[in-house]
């Protein structure tokens, strides 16, 4: 969960998506933007992200990030 404080908004990329945050597992992000907007800013190809969680709940990529959210993202890996 949010490791800094409950007002900080955090992005937590899982696994290979960390290459887009220079290997950092928790980065502070701005609220009041959609997940897709965030991907665009960070250069994360939206099409390789399979799952977005906001505070442990699955949300769509059009979800508008709120202050204090803990956003986790996971890529599609290798399939069945």
């Amino acid at each position: 969960m949010n490791l800094l404080n409950n007002k900080t908004t955090i992005l937590h990329p899982i696994g290979l998506l960390r290459q887009y945050t220079k290997g950092i597992s928790d980065i502070e992000i701005e609220p009041d933007q959609t997940v897709d907007d965030l991907f665009q800013k960070l250069g994360i190809p939206s099409q390789i992200v399979a799952l977005v969680l906001a505070n442990k709940t699955v949300v769509p990529k059009v979800y508008k990030i709120r202050q204090g959210d803990y956003i986790e993202i996971m890529a599609v890996l290798g399939g069945g």
């Binding site: 899982i14 696994g15 290979l16 190809p45 099409q47 390789i48 992200v49 399979a50 799952l51 969680l53 699955v58 990529k61 996971m74 890529a75 599609v76 890996l77 290798g78 399939g79 069945g80």
Partner: protein
């Protein structure tokens, strides 16, 4: 031999006889186990040109050196035969508990040959091997049959059964195990049905020798720790393979109405979180699994239960048939499992029939009066029952899309979404050239699991046709099926990002043979080329036409969804094949060159 059960059991159903011979060390060295044993034994032992449903065909059931040991995912085994659906090589992977029990009985491989006059089942308890009368089991659904055998022999026995579809000769009948795991593709259950072998019941209590016990414990624990620490574990365990439904819908890969599109307007109600909330009761894993992807579901509307549906089934029986309700899809899944048919081929066959009906190629005169349309669960249930029983219109659909379209003609082959006679699994490939090539060249027909390359398409550019993309597909094909050779599940590596090099010390500790992934990939290439030789030997005139995809993917651009208007160029399809053959060391017709075979250690098969 360290890591192995130690013997090959040959069951001749014609003579009702058994022979047991030591597992050959040379075969273990060159083909390792599982799928490798299956491919080698099939090519060596099967007489050229055997009809898949004749007694001369064989079913080869093999565990691998990792099967049954304390290694994550060690619950896999391979079922190989000459496919009645495709006429070529069939290899179906089965998860669950059976592979462990087989090895504990001291057996690596069962070769089933001949055919019994009356229905029987194979009973194995360590050194006791018998064929028992199956008259009371014949005609039963897979769930009831497995339950009867558990009650008869005990909960500790592991059981694989065929359903009525296998008995009736539906060409894509499967083998069901543990009430919800299948050796699903290519008609393995059909061949067993033709042999009148209803079930296999196994219990073993022997030890498996390992070369270095301490190193085995250490390397096994390293793998378990990596799984436990994986950040993806929680979401993977929560959703299993359904994690990709929403993603496929988003990127245009979700098969929709006979693959006419890759996004489904009703898709959202099929997504993993919806399924989890609405029908999933609990998780279910295979032997030794730290990340159970199986989901056990209860469908309130039908008051029924099923293990599933997994992604492939949601795609093929859901969006592909225009069904947006997860309970309907799960019920269709249950019917297929119980009656004994592959959900992927079944979904492909039904969607083909609906499209043919809508285009006027089929009429109510052909369909027993049924008005075929997308989005009607009752039509789907009815067709599944008709297929399994080969009743009326179901007898045509029981042939699979390739043979059914050849039978009715009228241009219906255009709507058969298949390669080499096998219905394409659940990834729409209108504009995903690596995944398209993976389907075109897969060694069993249009199946996804050898080279799941669709994310690579998205990462490097979906319509790009470059040598690097082709090389990636070949690398996948050599590497990923090695898990089926080792008798392990690939999903820990795939979905939890477990470092694949962690498997090498475990394999060495178990077998005493040091192998790097480079060594293993060479074995993978050897097996790949051997299965290609099988296709060539068994099919007169086999050439590059056999590798062509369904025309839909280079002629009919989707009219809706993410991939609307997108299509692979016909010339790019040929270019993909040219590059693939060159990189494989095959000629322009897709025939392996002599030097390629010799380099891969297949000199004995050079003619």
């Amino acid at each position: 031999m360290d890591g192995y059960g130690g013997s090959i059991l040959r069951v001749n159903l014609t003579n009702q006889s058994f022979t047991k011979t030591p597992t050959p060390e040379e075969m273990a060295r060159n083909y390792i186990g599982g799928r490798g044993f299956g491919a080698y034994l099939l090519y060596k032992e099967l007489k050229k040109g055997v009809n898949p449903l004749d007694p001369e065909n064989k079913v080869i059931i093999s565990s691998g050196p990792i099967s049954g040991l304390m290694i994550p995912g060690a619950g896999k085994m391979d079922w190989t035969t000459k496919s009645p659906l495709t006429g070529g090589y069939a290899s179906a992977s089965l998860g669950g508990m059976l592979t462990a029990e087989l090895k504990y009985a001291g057996i690596d491989t069962i070769i089933v040959e001949g055919a019994s006059i009356k229905p029987v089942y194979l009973f194995i308890e360590n050194n006791t091997i018998e064929l028992k009368d199956a008259a009371d089991l014949w005609g039963k659904g897979t769930f009831e049959c497995e339950k009867m055998l558990k009650e008869r022999h005990g909960e500790e026995f592991q059981i694989a059964v065929i359903g009525p579809a296998g008995e009736n000769g539906v060409l894509y009948a499967h083998v069901n195990h543990d009430f919800g795991r299948q050796a699903g593709r290519g008609g393995v259950g059909t061949v067993l049905g033709a042999k009148r072998l209803k079930a296999i019941v196994i219990r073993g209590t022997k030890s498996i020798p390992v070369a270095d016990l301490e190193a085995y414990k250490k390397s096994g624990m390293s793998l378990y720790k990596a799984c436990k620490d994986a950040e993806g574990l929680k979401p993977w365990q929560t959703y299993g393979t359904t994690i990709v439904v929403s993603w496929c819908d988003e990127v245009g890969a979700l098969p929709t109405r006979n693959f006419s599109a890759g996004s489904f307007e009703g898709g959202k109600t099929l997504y993993g979180p919806v399924m989890r909330e609405q029908i999933v009761v609990t998780d279910k894993g295979c032997f030794g699994c730290p990340s159970p992807c199986g989901k056990y579901s209860y469908m309130k509307r039908y008051d029924t239960r099923v293990e599933g549906p997994e992604y492939e089934t949601i795609g093929m029986l859901g969006s592909n048939l225009g069904l947006p309700d997860i309970q309907d899809v799960a019920e269709a899944n249950r019917l297929c499992d119980d009656l004994g048919i592959d959900t992927i081929s079944t979904g492909g066959v039904i969607s083909w029939a609906i499209e043919c009906f809508q285009r006027g190629i089929l009429t109510t005169d052909d369909t027993d009066g049924l008005i075929l349309k997308y989005g009607d669960p009752n039509i789907v249930f009815s067709l599944i029952r008709k297929i399994a029983g080969k009743e009326g219109f179901g007898a045509l659909l029981a042939l699979g899309t390739k043979k059914a379209s050849q039978k009715i003609g009228k241009g219906s082959d255009r709507y058969a979404i298949q390669v080499k006679g096998m219905e394409q699994s659940a990834y729409a490939t209108h504009n995903a050239t690596a995944m398209l090539l993976a389907y075109m060249t897969c060694d069993v027909g249009a199946h996804h699991n050898r080279a799941w390359a669709i994310t690579y398409d998205l990462a490097v550019g979906r319509d790009k046709v470059v040598p690097e993309k082709v090389a990636k597909v070949i690398w996948f094909q050599n590497f990923r099926p090695m898990f089926d050779v080792l008798g392990a599940c690939r999903l820990q590596w795939v979905e939890l990002s477990i470092e694949r090099d962690l498997y090498c010390p475990a394999l060495e500790a178990i077998t005493g043979v040091n192998r790097s992934w480079k060594d293993l990939e060479k074995v993978g290439a050897r097996i790949w080329n051997l299965t290609r030789l099988f296709w060539i030997r068994e099919n007169e005139g086999f050439d590059r036409k056999w590798d062509m995809p369904a025309r839909r993917f280079y002629e009919d651009a989707p009219e809706s969804g993410t991939t609307k208007g997108q299509i692979t160029k016909p010339e790019d399809v040929q270019k993909l094949l040219d590059m693939y053959y060159e990189q494989r060391g095959w000629d322009t017709n897709g025939i392996p060159k002599k030097e390629t075979l010799i380099e891969l250690g297949l000199g004995e098969f050079v003619e």
